[in-house]
Symmetry: none
Subunit: 212 residues, 4 copies
């Protein structure tokens, strides 16, 4: 009896379908979609869904973990570009945050679901490590370049990612980036890095009223 019993091919296929369906459903309709609905969207029965993910929390955690994987890939690619000298490290950090803020828009419901369910472990710790390592090196390079403030750490990036207004429309998200970047970049680096981000404030119309 092998301990690392490999998954049957159809089981793998089902897992994939479930994960995709869960992502799509939660994204589209919020964290309160029923397990039955996710199962149906995946084309399997609830029982099958529960065989792969014993609780709803587990399912959501798996969806979040997949997102972490994507983020880790992005961080590593950013680092690769900076290492290759094809771009400044600070610009890559900014680009990374920008992309996260954008892409998260799709995932914001998932984030909400994760929080709402008190999701704890993020599946694969190694993805998290990959992301952390890449971002750490990116920050170090940027600091050596004199573009990134000396006190900035990887946790700062995570903190900003966690507070990104992913549920707001694009102009608001852009304005948020503008407000956030000076805290990461050095005053001297400002103007040198960044994508010429126009500092114009987001119009009243776009925000209407505080989302207290």
């Amino acid at each position: 009896m092998s301990v690392i019993r490999p998954m049957r091919a159809d089981a793998v296929r089902n897992r994939r379908k479930i994960l995709d369906a869960a992502n799509a459903q939660i994204t589209a309709r919020g964290p309160e979609v029923g397990m039955d609905e996710i199962a149906q969207a995946a084309g399997v029965a609830v029982g099958t869904l529960y065989r792969h993910f014993p609780t709803k929390t587990d399912l959501v955690a798996a969806v979040v973990a997949e997102y972490v994987l994507v983020v880790a890939d992005d961080a590593q690619e950013s680092l690769a570009r900076a290492r290759a000298g094809s771009s400044r490290a600070a610009d890559e950090v900014i680009g990374f945050l920008t992309r996260v803020a954008e892409s998260s828009a799709d995932h914001h419901a998932v984030k909400a679901a994760a929080q709402g369910l008190g999701v704890e472990g993020h599946g694969d710790k190694s993805d998290e490590s990959r992301a952390s390592a890449a971002l750490a090196e990116l920050i170090t390079i940027g600091q050596a370049d004199g573009d990134i403030r000396a006190e900035v750490t990887v946790d700062d990036i995570y903190l900003l990612m966690a507070t990104a207004p992913t549920d707001q429309p694009a102009p608001v998200r852009q304005r948020w980036l503008d407000l956030i970047l000076p805290g990461i970049t050095t005053p001297s680096g400002w103007g040198r890095v960044g994508r010429e981000a126009a500092a114009e404030p987001v119009g009243r119309a776009a925000r209407k009223s505080p989302a207290w």
Copy 2:
């Protein structure tokens, strides 16, 4: 015969108890606490709760509205101090954001509940106006002082309030403020304003892992 019948003394008392209990329960146990539980925590029957707030949405809206009132008061007091010359406007804005980040810790779940329920009107529109007016004037003064960036608006403050990591421990909230302030203050004003914000990064221990 006055048209506005004053509320009975016991009714007022119950309303207060309900509001407090709702705030406490939602804060402590998330937006999905049952109405029955809130009622029990308030020491009244469900029916009483529903007499005061016809729907759960109404109840949450009322809790939010109370918070808005507090925020509006804070903003006006900040403005009063700045006008009196007893402090710099920029420092008042910073202080305001600091206090919001702190006090909101109690209210973050309420905020989530409000969003989850699609709470629309925040009870008293005038409180919102009061807050907006005070903050707008504060910003204008700070800009005249050369401390606040020219492009900053009231909506920026609201955006930051909305994204404050109110559910994080104190050191994290402090670090967030440090990251955020450079986006509001002028590079030249930096160092002049602010409470010499310690730049020490938040330790790993405090954050554990990204809250993606």
Copy 3:
């Protein structure tokens, strides 16, 4: 301490307002109107309503009793006309049933409410007696005239009243009368009495489908 303590003038007024409001509300919106709504429509507080009618059942019974009173009056007037010779007794019986079927349309919800609540006693027994006595005499006269079948009794009239399709549109109610009358009148009396009731059936359109 007088046993027949007379009602205070305002209490009488309130009782009247409540009865009228109850009748109106139940008629208009069905037996499931809340006591609060009836009280509001009457312009009194629920407490007052409950002072006059200890339970909802009592209130509905009172409304029904009022209807019995009207019916008793009608029966007596019918009898008076027959005695005066200004009309045939059989025609009066028919007219009586017709009027009941018509007027009950307004009261059908009340009837439903009464049944739904298992209303037992009809308030004033004397009204019932008045109606019974008048109808009995009317029947006797009609039988003497040779117009009403010998076996018909007052209970038959009550049975027909109870089964009248009061919730159906006018043409259906008319057709019901046409179907019912031959059972009361003698074959020979048929044609002599009755209001030339056209025997044309109610069109399909009017009934659409069985109300099983």
Copy 4:
């Protein structure tokens, strides 16, 4: 691979139990029995009940539909006998109405529930059609025999079914039939058809008092 998956055996069994329990409970305790109580009587959990009938209205509609089916069968059998010449069509109509008045006693509360809930479609339209077609032919034959009045239609039968005093004791229901039949049969046919309907009136004791 058949598109119409056959219901699982236990599901079929449960559906039956639910339908029977619903019929019994509603009959016994009125239309306002709770879904929980019906479920308990059926020996299943509420969830199961809701899996089979998404709303209370659906459940009641299903119960009514079952009754319609029985009625349609009865009508068709009546017609078959008349066609076979083993009985007069008029007698079959009378028999049909008699049986409906009898059997409906079980269903009268269901009828009330259906009306109270505004039940619309009676499940299988075809059952209704079967009943209508059979009754229509029965009437036509009876008219050709000279036993049934020329103006009688299927809708008249439905009207009488709907107004049958199904909640009254047997002697009352019998008396009601006696009162109703002359409206359907021809004066000349009277005495020729019918089961020599005893003309004795229903005694006071049986009816107690008008059910206004």
